[in-house]
Symmetry: D3
Subunit: 131 residues, 6 copies
């Protein structure tokens, strides 16, 4: 069996259920999304990842909306279909409008383009950027 | 000669100078940074890229600060040293504080981590994210 | 016709059949997997790739199990769905347990995260690592 | 100032020093390497990352040596110079021989090659790998 | 609603229709492909991207065939399924034979392999390549 | 010792020297470039890689010039500084002009941009591209 199945709440250990319960409470959802049901195969990793996500994605110097959009920017760059879908939904929920999404995509596209122009032209870093 | 040299203003064609002048005016800088001096080997590409950057990076539904931070997020994900340096400087200029930078890095790191967890666990997209 | 079809054994040239026969014998399987049926459109590439895979994936200083897990680590990082599926199956066959898989994923996730933290913080290599 | 400076022990806050002390004790080194000195600009991230690394890289179902080599495999795939240098050193310390390193590189190279052959030939996943 | 729907010609604004008309005329097709129908959610981005594509992909110092094959090479390296499908079709239309495709894939595979061998062995650039 | 040193001809084993001699003869150069001197730490890998490169990069359905430019396209996309430098030099030697290089870079940039637009807009593959 090379492909794991998701672990549903009913079949989860108490340790996994505790994380699922916290996710449901924090996000006010009835069930956790698939990511957590698969990661539940590694209870220690599940706990660690959820604690990290809670800490990292919380409102802080940056808003939750900006953080969700950055998550989308990275996931689009890496081509991770699941994370694009889930964090686009998360960004929408946090207030991303159609206009914001279009601008986000345009920036991500340009950055991926100019990253490669820089590589190909072998552009040295300006002294002004080294300080 | 496999490595191109930067084209300085004094040696640039009128077509290239026109772009350099517009960059200097728009950004209020005395000289353009290396990226443009190398891209100047392709005058049509220089014009096109500068017009695109002006359009894409302008204040809009997203602030210039958020756009610069997204540029950093993509460049860090791709490992483009030049763009990390130049757009971190750009984000600083647009108001990014140390605390914002730390949170940006934390989000980029987490996204790159969970993008791979999703790949490895082969997590299918939830129906809720498909609509 | 932009999409190639797999080349089945019955339709294969003698040159391709010779490789398919060797794969089936070495792996003790009844049929080769899709990768080889598509690569069969390039008989020279098929031969070269199979000879390379045999040499590279053989037991040596590293065990076949460790090599299969490394293949998974790379494929997960690149987001190659086919290779994740096939080499996870290969690793399972070579003895990878659920616990090993969970740890493998955790390491791959952390490495992808810290790779980007290093990029973003622009961390210079310690002198101790240069020797 | 767009480029951060490393935070040395002498200049670190008590919170950062506590992490540095734990790293030095766990690894039996006199000073922490640059990665930690830069990440110290984000004390919460420093604590979280160090706790995660300790948990993830510990001996478990996989040996510390195998884990370090996987870290190298990912870092080489992503082209992260710092992590290649530091985790190659870590793998050496954990027992990686020249022969192991050569085999690791060969596997990483092959995986990166066949990941793309699969993409380009648009190979569908075999039913056998879906279970 | 996190997933956008394609914008068909019948539902498009005059601004979007003007781009669609130009694509259909330039490419002599009855309808534009999905990429443009989604990008139509960002009319300014649609115009900009189409103008850029027209300029960049035109016959010049490099033939349209070579340019389409390079597009495939990049898309295969990035693992972008849509672009692999669409630009392989484009390259076929421009004259790519089965033999050319096989050689293209072999080069892309080798490049992805040796890119990583270079990273892992930390090979310094020869002085001869710096001039 | 975590960093390997290049193996010079004078210090090489007969097996390594045989490959070096073949490289020097085929390319008509006085010395091999650094890539081969580092890969010489893995004599079997050195032989295999050189044989593969010779086969893959030979004139065929695609010219050596086009193949070198594709190598550059992939290396620029991956951000491999060494391979960008060495294969740009190779492409120059094979006849790449400044105008060709500029167009190559423009195509690579656009492809990297639109690859991400496709990811972000979650564009489904047109039925026409599936046949």
């Amino acid at each position: 069996m090379s492909r794991l199945k998701p672990i549903e709440y009913a079949d989860a250990s108490p340790r996994v259920r505790a994380v699922f319960d916290d996710i449901k409470r924090c996000r006010d959802v009835e069930d956790v999304n698939n990511f957590w049901k698969y990661l539940a195969h590694d209870p220690a990793g599940l706990e660690r990842t959820w604690e990290s996500i809670k800490q990292v994605m919380a409102e802080g110097a940056l808003s939750a909306l900006v953080k969700e959009m950055m998550y989308v920017a990275v996931s689009v760059t890496n081509g991770c279909g699941y994370c694009i879908a889930s964090h686009t939904a998360g960004a929408r929920k946090a207030g991303m409008t159609d206009a914001m999404f279009a601008e986000l995509m345009a920036v991500v596209g340009m950055a991926n383009e100019t990253n490669r122009l820089v590589n190909g032209y072998r552009v040295p870093i300006d002294a002004a950027f080294e300080n």
